[in-house]
Assembly symmetry: C2
Homo-oligomer: 134 residues x 2
């Protein structure tokens, strides 16, 4: 099966995360993108997102390794909903309170130059909704 | 707490579904919207979406009653990810094979006139991803 252009973007972003190249990571997001850093905490725009990745990396003692399992893309024009099984490993942070396997939900937007950029990154998936009840 | 403009749109669309007014329902979707009718079956654009609602209504013997519980909106400029607990009742179709309680995932887009329209409607939530493994 051919890989969707968005899957290639996600793969490239994962590689950049794993290499701690947060400049490349933040450029895979739209200018006005929102990242769910953790439930209740959002980062807006590339600068905040880059800073958030630096803090996330620090939390994981610089040993963040992310990858995706199954990925499903539903498109509507220049907008796409992406559901992805996401794996977060951190060999130097074995006592992390965050789950290492997640059902992530992303929204991608196609720019005028044809490149898909991440507009909303919620690696916590539906967990956000459940936290409203607690 | 003030209701988000998108929640009002969802509430109005639910009311129209419950009144079988599928013209109003389809106009709550963007022109190029995608509706996940059921896992593996998509409807694209307002006409297909209106026809799909008619078929869904027929399946439920005209007795579809939808409503939302908790709703969470994550915005990024003119794009929004919406996570919603959705309830589907069908008093005249008690043997439906589809779940009556769902964690739905929607993507909304703000039009130039300021109105939020549904671009992607996936009431099956992350179930779509799990079906890839079967």
């Amino acid at each position: 099966m051919n890989m969707h252009a968005i899957e290639k973007e996600i793969e490239a972003a994962d590689r950049a995360i794993n290499e701690s190249d947060f400049e490349v990571v933040s450029n895979s997001y739209a200018q006005d993108a929102t990242l769910v850093v953790r439930p209740g905490l959002l980062a807006n725009g590339r600068q905040e997102i880059r800073e958030a990745y630096q803090r996330i990396s620090d939390y994981f003692n610089g040993s963040l390794e992310v990858s995706q399992g199954d990925v499903l893309v539903v498109e509507a024009g220049d907008t796409a909903l992406v559901l992805a099984k996401t794996f977060v490993k951190s060999p130097k942070k074995l006592d992390s309170e965050y789950p290492s396997e997640r059902d992530a939900i992303y929204v991608y937007r196609k720019e005028e130059n044809g490149r898909w950029l991440c507009a909303i990154d919620n690696s916590y998936g539906l967990e956000l909704l459940r936290q409203l009840d607690t």
